[in-house]
């Protein structure tokens, strides 16, 4: 029987209460949202916090709001709500692509976007989605808020810029006209971690790519490829451009061999999935589903 090591449990009633608890309890406290990453780690004793601060009662962080130029998603919004949001599906189809293949419906009933991002698992999907979309996150502490882009936020595997005593409260996703996005993932079976995955977002100006975002998952610590993104800027949307960006992204990723595949296979997937994601993103941007 796997059970977590002993800890003290506190349930926060508001964001302010959560921040006060985190300040009082110090660095040995961890925030628990849906718990579907943290609890398995605690059962395996990969994590053993002395205090858990449960933020599941913070309904104030469960929202998806359209601010015109951007969509704001509260940190406690669960995967299921992301998948069921018509607004997100229309503005950012990459989110629905990814949510359909994140774990399984039971896990999606509990897991949250804030928890997923803060876990910063190198195989986690929403970090790549948010990076591709150029999203930023809002981190709140007792002294105020900080707004960080995904590069500033995501420090590496299991490490983010959220400091002790701080809480991720919101994700902000810029919305553009003539934009499209897509997520492609290969997994061995339903609900498994990705062998490799790629997300792409494109903003079009006629047939020309005005701006691109590419982010990969499960193929190394660095999820973006600046060279791939740069190769697309100003280029004509074409199979050649997508293939070249895929090639660059695959070169820039750093997969490791494990039970899901060897390095060459994962690199091949990174290339192919990036190309496919770009093709679909462009199709969607031009309102023609590829």
């Amino acid at each position: 029987m796997q059970v977590p090591a002993p800890f003290e449990y506190e349930r926060a009633s508001s964001v302010e209460d959560a921040l006060a608890l985190l300040e009082r309890l110090g660095p040995d406290a961890r925030v628990i949202a849906g718990g579907h990453s943290l609890l398995p780690m605690m059962k395996l004793r990969l994590a053993a916090p002395e205090h858990l601060v449960d933020i599941n009662d913070l309904r104030e962080l469960d929202y998806i709001s359209d601010e015109g130029g951007e969509v704001r998603v509260g940190a406690m919004t669960r995967h299921r709500a992301l998948l069921e949001s018509a607004l997100l599906g229309e503005r950012f189809p990459i989110i629905h692509d990814a949510e359909r293949v994140i774990a399984d419906p039971l896990v999606r009933n509990r897991g949250t976007i804030g928890g997923a991002l803060c876990q910063a698992d190198p195989s986690e999907d929403l970090s790549a989605v948010c990076a591709a979309l150029g999203a930023s996150v809002v981190v709140r502490g007792r002294d105020g808020e900080r707004v960080l882009d995904m590069v500033e936020f995501h420090r590496g595997p299991y490490e983010t810029a959220v400091a002790d005593g701080e809480l991720l409260v919101e994700v902000r996703i810029p919305a553009h006209e003539h934009a499209g996005s897509a997520y492609e993932k290969v997994e061995r079976r339903a609900g498994d971690w990705a062998v490799a995955a790629a997300g792409a977002a494109l903003r079009m100006d006629g047939g020309t790519i005005a701006e691109a975002g590419i982010a990969l998952s499960a193929v190394g610590a660095s999820v973006t490829s600046e060279r791939a993104v740069a190769s697309l800027r100003g280029a004509t949307a074409s199979e050649e451009a997508f293939a070249e960006a895929g090639r660059l992204a695959a070169e820039d990723c750093s997969p490791t061999e494990d039970q899901r595949g060897d390095v060459a296979y994962k690199r091949h997937l990174a290339q192919e999935l990036t190309t496919r994601a770009l093709r679909r993103a462009a199709g969607r941007a031009l309102r023609q589903e590829a």
């Binding site: 029987m1 796997q2 059970v3 977590p4 090591a5 002993p6 800890f7 003290e8 449990y9 349930r11 628990i32 718990g35 579907h36 609890l39 398995p40 605690m42 059962k43 858990l52 449960d54 599941n56 299921r80 774990a103 399984d104 419906p105 039971l106 896990v107 009933n109 509990r110 339903a190 609900g191």
Partner: protein
């Protein structure tokens, strides 16, 4: 610490350790052993119960986190000797097989049908995709849920 939640319509209060998982709370503290406990790693889904009407894996929820919420387990499906249509369906279409994953499958099926009374086979397969049947017999499970969809109870409690 003390935890209070509603289980199968009854409010229960128990003194627990914060690290107690919901599955063990149900089985060991309340004696509701219909909820099975399988892989321990949040993969197999055999421990599935409903929390506020949604299926969740009870090995990945702390009992403390369930405080104040409504939990429904497989023991609550049959009423006054009358089986829930999903239970009857699993009998009619041999969805039971070895029976180990059955309680979790039943709770997911009930939640699915409550929300979507006429799911497609694909929707049924998606709904149970987080639950493993090692009899390799998903075909009969899907048929069982379909049977239940085609034979809804006249009175839903």
């Amino acid at each position: 610490m003390q935890v209070t939640m509603t289980v199968n319509g009854d409010e229960v209060t128990r003194e627990i350790e914060p690290r107690l998982l919901l599955v063990h709370f149900l089985r060991d503290h309340l004696g509701l052993t219909g909820t099975h406990w399988g892989c321990d790693t949040s993969n197999c889904g055999t421990c599935t119960v409903q929390m506020d009407g949604e299926p969740v894996k009870s090995c990945t929820v702390l009992a403390a986190m369930a405080g104040g919420h409504e939990i429904r387990t497989v023991e609550d499906l049959e009423r006054d000797g009358v089986l829930d249509p999903v239970q009857q369906g699993f009998m009619e279409e041999h969805g039971l097989q070895c029976g180990f994953c059955t309680p979790g499958m039943l709770m997911t099926a009930r939640a699915l049908l409550d929300e979507n009374p006429d799911p497609s086979d694909d929707e049924i397969r998606t709904a149970i995709s987080g639950q493993i049947c090692r009899c390799t017999g998903y075909t009969t499970i899907v048929r069982s849920v379909r049977w239940a969809a085609e034979h809804p109870a006249e009175v839903t409690p």
